[in-house]
Amino acid sequence: MNIDKKIADDLVANDISFVTTVPCKQLAGVIEEIDTRDDIMHVPSNKEDEGMGLCAGAFMGGKRPAIIMQNTAIGVTINTLATLTQFYRLPLPMIISYRGELREPVACQVEMAVHTKALLAQLNIPTYHFHWQKDVEEFDNILKYTFMCNKPVAILTDANFWGGYGDQ
């Protein structure tokens, strides 16, 4: 299974037509895939809270949005998640590369990884963790759930899900 294609297919099938990204090595393939899709407007942002602002505007303009970012962004976006996305009840699927988990080569990434789920839980953000490739089968249902309940929803995708870093 090509998980990059599957993710992009599910986004399109769920009428998600606005995607903003702040890149991560693990996300390079899915970002590249999204750029090949005519049905998706891709606007890279410079910081993840900026991206959530773009998504809020796009949603109010009639486009379903999604954001693709690293888990380090949870540390950047807590105020935005609480006072914009949650306060105004805006749906936002967050496809998050979960750095600092199993098969991570960079020690510093673990420092945010150990806080990631606790912060999401503190914010009452529904959170899913993709560890095996087959976990992507739930992605379509998670998107439907997000736009049913008008909440930010986190999909954490770790290095094992993406196939690791070659030899490491």
Partner: protein, 184 residues
């Protein structure tokens, strides 16, 4: 002129447009001067006014005016390259630059010192950047709307706030009536 006097001046122009208004006293002033369903008031989240407006302009064809402040643009400077590289023709970022953090007690920002927001917007790739004095805001804003070009309008004015009530509208109500107005 201070911001509230400018907003009173341009209220007849804003009335017919989609407006995303910055957090704090700017939204309180606009709400008190001329509340409209076409106004989206930010109740929190300093810095994202320009980003919300840009997302809205990219998603639909009506003109969108983000009414931002110098302090808020400084806190989200990454917005300028994103605007410079993506802004569609229906997007206007109007920065009311009073050289101070108005909502928090008028502490000075760097735009009252050496920092030039219009120059930063140009350097970030924004093609049409206009700087005007407060008294010229109305004609400059109308010209930007009529030009159908993505525009950054920097309005230089005095520091100060009008005393206006806090907005008590529920955020979901603000969002809902705004989205209905976008669709109308």
């Amino acid at each position: 002129m201070i911001r509230s006097e400018i907003l009173k001046d341009i209220a007849p122009i804003l009335r017919d447009q989609l407006v995303v208004c910055n957090i704090g006293i700017p939204s309180q002033e606009l709400h008190a001067i001329d509340d409209q369903p076409t106004n989206f008031y930010m109740l929190g989240t300093m810095g994202l006014c320009s980003s919300i407006g840009l997302g809205l302009a990219l998603a639909q064809p009506k003109t969108v005016i983000s009414i931002d402040g110098d302090g808020s643009v400084l806190t989200n400077l990454g917005t300028l390259p994103t605007i410079g590289n993506n802004a569609p023709s229906n997007y206007i970022l109007m920065i009311i630059d009073n050289g101070s953090y108005g909502s928090t007690g008028d502490q000075p920002t760097y735009t009252g010192k050496k920092t030039d927001l219009a120059g930063m917007a140009r350097a970030a790739g924004c093609d049409t950047v206009i700087e005007v004095q407060d008294v010229d805001t109305g004609p400059a804003l109308q010209a930007a709307i009529d030009s159908k070009k993505a525009t950054v309008l920097v309005v230089k004015c005095d520091s100060g706030n009008a005393k206006m009530p806090v907005i008590t509208l529920d955020p979901v109500v603000i969002k809902h009536r705004f989205m209905e107005a976008v669709k109308a």
